[in-house]
Symmetry: C2
Subunit: 78 residues, 2 copies
Amino acid sequence: MKSKAVFYHAGCPVCISAEQGITAALDKQRFEVEVVHLGEDSSRLSDAENAGVKSVPALVIEGQAYHINHGADLSALK
Amino acid sequence: MKSKAVFYHAGCPVCISAEQGITAALDKQRFEVEVVHLGEDSSRLSDAENAGVKSVPALVIEGQAYHINHGADLSALK
């Protein structure tokens, strides 16, 4: 079974760079990757917060949050 | 030919988490991954700086630096 990876972003240039650099480089044989635009889907903000996401872009792999560079704080998206 | 990915770290807990989470999740079919401990190999500090690395842990993929969470500033390793 594949592990879950969720990339949270807000469409910012830093987010796009992280998506193209890191998220695209993940092993799709082992990870099911979901991309969530928090600016367009604010219903997922609580999921992000519960996973420990403080800013975007962030990648949550197996429940662990990794903030990649810094585009915007989560609080700015509410 | 595989692309190059270099993970710079300093042995800190945040670094180890990022290595186990992100670096381990990269597609090894497409990326040749090198792990560099800047605390033990300070000769690589200039490589990291030239790639735009400001803090560790950081992953440089195809010349682009991605800072993953924050363990220590590069300046603290000199």
